[in-house]
């Protein structure tokens, strides 16, 4: 074939190919790295003017964070007066408006695909987050794999708390939430998961809470517990114990410590794995009944005293006590959800899946029905190992 194509045609083909590809260089949409202000964290608060939102962006100062990583030249760092990031705030009616207005204040184009965390101020959260989230769910370049938080107090303050280990406060916060799976005291919620739950009529969404604590004149971030959202409005909080109660039911407990006290000693039972089942039942007398079954496997993490909890004769008591602790956590989460009138467990969804027809009548007054549901909690703990020792360190 190729032999038959003349030289003229070949040149023409090359020219055509060049002309075509030059159209794909995206001249209209070019974005060079040195013109981008890479946003890594966003804090959203209620604005000072009624009806306005205050948006704070944390923008990475990439060049600076690299020189500080090399570390040696501290004087240079002071000269440039910079840290590895800077925060900039502005208020407006919608997020997108504010972002455009911010272009007046910073030298670079705001670039959002690398946002790691979004933090809502508590005040804004209580009035509803739907409007603020719209942009982040809609913008084509934005990603929904980032983590969302609610801050106690003002969200913008969280972005000011510097971390000793990480270059950016946003990264520090993101790393912190990623590690929460070893305590299971805090829900790990990406924007996508939050939006997906928010789209559900009956289930209340939750977000982890972050707050600032003072320790020896140093500010630290503390993550724990969660905020409960009903119809995109924050209606209350769960503390750590209640949060884990919630996570047990949702099957999101992956690891963690159960503090148990029995026979005069304290022990930490390490959760190795956990599974949960929820069985919904509409009984003939009209009661809405749920059976929560949690199967947990645990190892002995450590213990005080000299009574050997790992001994076969003591093990059942340890397991029983663990079961009681877990059931207690779940019960406290339930009580709090009734208090807040929010179906955080998604019990409504279980009904809608099992009894789609009856659910249609229940859907609209689920809030009232939720207060009347009956719940039975069943916990089965199983032992799995005692670590490198089989008994406390006592001479025989």
């Amino acid at each position: 074939m190729i032999r038959r194509i003349g030289i003229k045609k070949r040149i023409l083909a090359v020219l055509a190919a060049l002309a075509l590809t030059s159209g794909l260089t995206a001249c209209f949409d070019r974005r060079e790295l040195d013109t981008l202000g890479i946003v890594i964290g966003v804090a959203i608060d209620k604005g000072e003017t009624e009806g306005e939102t205050e948006l704070t962006l944390q923008i990475a100062n990439v060049a600076e964070s690299q020189s500080s990583k090399q570390g040696s030249n501290t004087s240079k760092k002071e000269e440039s007066g910079g840290s590895s990031f800077f925060n900039v705030s502005h208020s407006g009616k919608t997020v997108n408006t504010i972002l455009r207005d911010l272009e007046h204040m910073i030298s670079r184009r705001v670039y959002i695909p690398h946002i790691q965390v979004i933090i809502f101020g508590e005040e804004l959260a209580r009035e509803g987050v739907r409007d603020s989230l719209d942009f982040f769910a809609r913008a084509p370049e934005a990603r929904m794999t980032l983590y969302v938080f609610v801050a106690k107090g003002k969200a913008a303050d969280i972005l000011n708390v510097k971390s000793l280990l990480e270059a950016y406060p946003s990264t520090a916060l993101m790393q912190r939430i990623k590690n929460q799976d070893i305590t299971s005291d805090t829900p790990i919620v990406t924007e996508f998961e939050f939006v997906r739950t928010m789209m559900n009529k009956s289930t209340a969404a939750v977000l982890p809470i972050v707050e600032i604590t003072e320790q020896k004149d140093r500010q630290r971030l503390l993550v724990g517990g969660c905020a409960v959202f009903k119809d995109s409005r924050m209606v209350g909080e769960l503390d750590k114990k209640e949060t884990r109660g919630l996570l047990w039911v949702k099957g999101e407990v992956e690891a963690g410590i159960l503090s148990v006290e029995l026979m005069g000693v304290c022990a930490a039972a390490e959760i190795v794995s956990a599974k949960s089942r929820v069985n919904a039942e509409l009984r003939e007398d009209g009661t809405i009944f749920f059976r929560i079954t949690v199967d947990e496997v645990q190892a002995l993490g450590d213990q005080t005293g000299i009574t050997n909890l790992a001994a076969p004769e003591n093990l059942p008591a340890l397991l029983e006590e663990s079961e009681r602790v877990i059931a207690d956590e779940i019960q406290s989460a339930l009580d709090q959800s009734w208090e807040l009138q929010a179906d955080i467990f998604g019990f409504g969804e279980y009904i809608s899946r099992k009894y789609p027809d009856k659910w249609k009548d229940m859907e609209d007054n689920w809030d009232e029905l939720y207060q009347k549901i009956e719940v039975e909690i069943e916990v089965n703990a199983k032992a799995d190992g005692t670590g490198r020792t089989i008994m406390p360190l006592i001479p025989e």
């Binding site: 075509l20 159209g23 794909l24 995206a26 001249c27 209209f28 949409d29 769910a137 084509p140 990603r143 929904m144 794999t145 996508f192 939006v195 997906r196 789209m199 559900n200 969804e349 809608s352 899946r353 099992k354 789609p356 659910w359």
Partner: protein, 365 residues
């Protein structure tokens, strides 16, 4: 001897043609939500008899394309009118697919680039394909279908931890009407669109196998569509309904150990290649149909005219992408049914009544 299309090539062409139309799953979600996969199965069932009509036509008139068949059946004048309808339909499909390329590139990759530029580039390449040989292009379909199948499976595995199978419940919870609409959408806007391959029948090695091969291709594609839909529902749940492009949204959620992430360029590449394939086939059908209409032997002279028409058509057909969505979810299925079901069915019935083809053209059964 000119190259001919083998049955296997046609099978893969049909499959990748349908896989490219998977954007219609979005329409499906709005009617059937978590039951969309049922809609696909139902759509498959109702498209089978339609495919049999195509098969019967191809058997009755071996080595003829649909334009030639309708002229043979309905005579000079009525035949020409019907052929013109088909050509218009192919053209309109080509325009719509071209438009969806424009919308896709504009929303996802190049928001500020004028759509005209994107479309000119795209249609130029398609016109090249039409000019240099559609036969070779069907050969490529094997690779296209294979790549898209592999990618779909790969993405499925990467998304495994995001899958929540409880999202499928409650099953069978929609109104019966919605299942019918959903099945209709699947059949008319996706599966039966392979009708366009009727224009390639004369180029087949074994034209009489058209019906069977098309059915096999549609079956393969249905399986792929089922996987895609099931994945979207299992991952997105109630979010599916608000998403502009569910399959794309799903991809953006992939994050395996912070390493396998931001994989949407894979989707972009395969999506545009598949659409290129579809538009080229439709483009070819349009120009060859048109040249046949005017009794011109070669269709080469019309390629650039129709290219220009397609670009302007695609630019002006919808004011906004919202309108495109509206069209897809309301009128499109009914519009397509006329060309994909009623006209071919009428042709078959008329042919049976008139005992066509006559003795002189009858082929050994």
């Amino acid at each position: 001897m000119k190259r001919k299309i083998s049955s296997a090539q046609l099978l893969f062409s049909v499959a990748s043609f349908i896989v490219a139309s998977r954007m219609i799953t979005k329409v499906l979600y709005s009617y059937l939500k978590q039951d969309s996969w049922i809609g696909i199965l139902l759509g498959y069932l109702i498209s089978l008899p339609v495919l049999m009509i195509y098969g019967a036509l191809a058997k009755r008139f071996p080595s003829k394309n649909i334009i030639e068949i309708s002229e043979a059946v309905f005579g000079k004048i009525l035949g020409k009118i019907i052929s013109a309808c088909y050509t218009f339909y192919f053209m309109s499909l080509a325009v719509l697919y071209t438009r969806s390329v424009g919308t896709f590139v504009k929303t996802i990759i190049l928001p500020n680039t004028p759509m005209a530029l994107i479309l000119i580039l795209f249609v130029f390449i398609c016109s090249w394909a039409v000019k240099k040989g559609i036969i070779g292009l069907t050969g490529c379909s094997t690779v296209l279908a294979a790549i898209s199948a592999v990618l779909i499976i790969f993405k499925f595995l990467l998304l495994f931890k995001e899958l929540e199978f409880k999202n499928f419940l409650p099953a069978f919870a929609m109104q019966p009407k919605n299942y019918l609409i959903g099945a209709h959408v699947v059949a008319a806007q996706s599966l039966c669109e392979i009708f366009v391959f009727f224009m390639l029948v004369p180029h087949m090695q074994k034209p009489e196998e058209f019906g069977r091969t098309a059915r096999a291709g549609v079956t393969v594609a249905t399986v792929i569509l089922l996987i895609v839909t099931a994945r979207d529902i299992a991952v997105l749940g109630s979010y599916t309904v608000v998403s502009t492009m569910p399959s794309f949204s799903v991809l953006r959620l992939i994050d395996v150990g912070d390493i396998f992430t931001r994989l949407e360029s894979l989707y972009t590449a395969i999506h545009i290649s598949l659409l290129f394939f579809n538009v080229s086939i439709l483009y070819y059908a349009t120009v060859s149909g048109f040249s046949r209409l005017l009794n011109v032997k070669s269709h080469q002279c019309f390629i650039h005219i129709f290219g220009a028409l397609m670009i302007t058509g695609a630019l002006s057909v919808f004011e906004s992408s919202y309108e495109h969505t509206q069209w897809n979810s309301s009128a499109a299925a009914i519009y397509a049914t006329l060309f994909l079901f009623f006209l071919p069915a009428a042709t078959l019935i008329a042919a049976a009544i008139r005992r066509l083809p006559g003795k002189e053209t009858e082929h050994p059964a």
